[in-house]
Symmetry: C3
Subunit: 316 residues, 3 copies
């Protein structure tokens, strides 16, 4: 059974812009097409590591890279064995953004549309994914590469990292990266980055909300794994319900947001893991989380949860 | 006559979720039920101090605590003698959030719903209250305790304070606290707090917008009182109109926001205290504010103010 | 042909509040009415400098000052020779906000309405203007003066600058400045400024997102000109398309925002300057931007761009 957020990526979700639906790589997680896959992925103890693995091309988000990343994110996303995802990169550049060779007029506008549409789908997939996604950045992230960092739930970077949206320098304003950037940093910071193309340091990125944490390079993996292991030790149904509800309530007015989340709290208390956690706390023992994937909360599938059906009298 | 925001807390406002309307403590401000009240309140020179007074239970926001706090906020809210409210706490913990003993399956889902609904009402009441509400924090504020800080208009904390949303550790994701937190700090900061449950320091909370000011512990009361006295020296009708308008315009598009606030400015200029203040400034003397509570601005009661009736041609 | 954003300032846009439409100064850019104009403007190499030039009145935003500023912003806004605008001020005060002598009851409510409406129009014009607008601040900016800084796309200030919304001190809550301030800094910072009227330093303003950059006074002009020259070296059609799209997508939900911006990216790639920039980058040479003003992107005029017509199936 597919997790909540993933339902949004059905056939219809894929038909926007000017092209036909594109089906996710049916080949699945570890398969390879012709030539090496531009990402690699491995999973252990609930933590999936997805690595952008095309350092020669500065990990450009080519269409092949985007589809490979999408496939790695979607692979068994609903499995109870998956608790958290880390996205990192090989080499000194986290990602340089789109592959400009795919954006010349040697390709059709439909092809260009496919590139931007697939990129947007991947960014929305991260937010709609049932488990937290952490960006681990060690180096330069520019344009759609900066967008990828801004789109993750959590972002940890080394102090030598930097971030820019330099598309304007080559006549291609970073309008899609601006969606993620503009929802992460103050607008004056976003606009100076977008209008000048100049990079900001990791410390500035932290100051302005683009990053969750900055650490020395030698501690980057340790700190990221510490956060990932912490999340992997928690109840997946509880974390998934919390993540989905967070993004659901954020754009709502205060009253609707409290209506939605108060319902979620009641539902969360009623979950097996909710009761187990509370009892373990009161009894001063460690909780034993459910490992049953059937426990995964059906936030909007069940009418009794009602996240999609605010009664009209509430809204008056 | 009830103030603007409070009208939202009529019978209907209280019927959401799965329970019957709950009536505010009719006992009023200084009365006691069986056992000591979990909050105490006193008022002097326009400044009301509400203190969470159950340090043995780490000032847990039990249903009794929430109702007592609600009662202290609502008590004569429309009185001209009330200018500003400070919420503080006894003991080393500002508040540890909900009382978990009220959330086990020994209580019914309806009871759980009452807990979360009452909590949400209190948080919205702070924003809808006609006078500014300041949190004065000296210690740890977690879960709904952190939500309470985030919900106040202004928050001053000692440098030894810290803030966390650790519900995920006990299988109960802080989804209602996330409503206030997600509107106060950048989303990457909010999500790391929510997913890991780890605390942030007062300095980090200041950096990210959860606090207005951080001071050494020995200066906490002095600094908070300085702000409160400043507000108490101002015109209540003007401050109330400004607060209500601020929250009203914030979620609107820019054009609607300027329409609403330009109207408010014209109305504000026409208030007795508006003219008195401007004249006093021009004449280089101290203004003498109206103390007439009938002067309180009827923001949405009067059709001529029109905050609720943007003409359709304006919105085109 | 008028640029995108300016269409919003037609006759209808000007009729809100209680007065008749006001026509922009037909006298144009360099003309003078009776007495000296309260702003001065000059343009060189694509950079227009508009200077608030009434230091004796602390550059108060009188109706005359607002109309002069509006005229300088609107003057040949669609010309390909204009790339970026800098707003600065003569004297130690950037601007002290409205002229209080225009707000006494010696003037009619209709006159007060004209003041606030014109001020709101100027602030929205900055955001809707086809080129970036930079505030260069060296001194105190209060009330509507602080609003002006908050309304610019980029704001650079000297370290001796400070910012306040002190209207509450004179019984006139800064409700219109709060529109810009509340969209720029965290709400707790905004509310403390609004409720107490106390100033924040340039460093605090930077920390909280009101400024893009703070530099020593002696470097203010150099740094601002560096940013302006950078923007002036870029493609105007690309920058204009990017600015308009940024503000258009910001209030949308994520899916709509990505739909809008993915379309913009495809359109941007198809622009002459888009292809020129990408090819120049691949060929490792400097791009040669189009200087043809007919190239200016017709974001919403052309149905094929469709920024205003999200297909219904996309939104499901």
């Amino acid at each position: 059974m597919a997790a909540l957020g993933l339902r949004a990526f059905g056939t219809k979700g894929l038909c926007w812009l000017r092209r036909n639906p594109w089906a996710p790589l049916s080949a699945g997680f570890c398969s390879r097409g012709p030539g090496p896959r531009p990402t690699s992925a491995r999973q252990r103890e609930g933590i999936r590591n997805i690595v952008l693995s095309d350092p020669k091309k500065r990990n450009a988000l080519s269409l092949a890279m985007l589809k490979s990343l999408q496939s790695d994110l979607l692979h068994e996303a609903e499995s109870k064995d998956l608790k958290v995802i880390i996205i990192s990169a090989e080499g000194p550049v986290f990602s340089s953004g789109h592959d400009l060779k795919e954006l010349t007029d040697e390709q059709s506008p439909d092809y260009h549309a496919e590139v931007f549409q697939t990129c947007s789908e991947v960014m929305m997939l991260i937010q709609n994914h049932p488990v937290p996604v952490i960006a681990m950045v060690n180096g330069l992230a520019t344009a759609a590469g900066c967008q990828l960092v801004a789109s993750c739930d959590i972002a940890v970077a080394s102090d030598k990292s930097s971030f820019a949206t330099p598309g304007v320098n080559i006549g291609l304003f970073c309008s899609t990266p601006a969606v993620a950037l503009g929802r992460t940093v103050p607008r004056k910071v976003a606009l100076e980055m977008l209008f000048t193309g100049e990079p900001i340091s990791a410390q500035e990125a932290l100051l302005h909300g683009l990053l969750s944490k900055v650490v020395p390079e030698e501690r980057l993996e340790e700190e990221t794994m510490r956060i990932a292991k912490k999340i992997a030790s928690l109840s997946r149904p509880v974390v998934s319900l919390g993540k989905a509800t967070f993004y659901k309530q954020l754009p709502q007015d205060l009253r609707t947001a409290y209506y939605l989340t108060s319902q979620t709290m009641v539902d969360n208390v009623a979950l097996r893991d909710g009761q187990e956690g509370i009892k373990a706390f009161i009894q001063k023992r460690k909780p034993i989380w459910s490992q049953c994937s059937g426990q995964f909360p059906q936030v909007s599938a069940s009418p009794c949860h009602g996240l999609n059906s605010v009664p009209t009298n509430f809204l008056r």
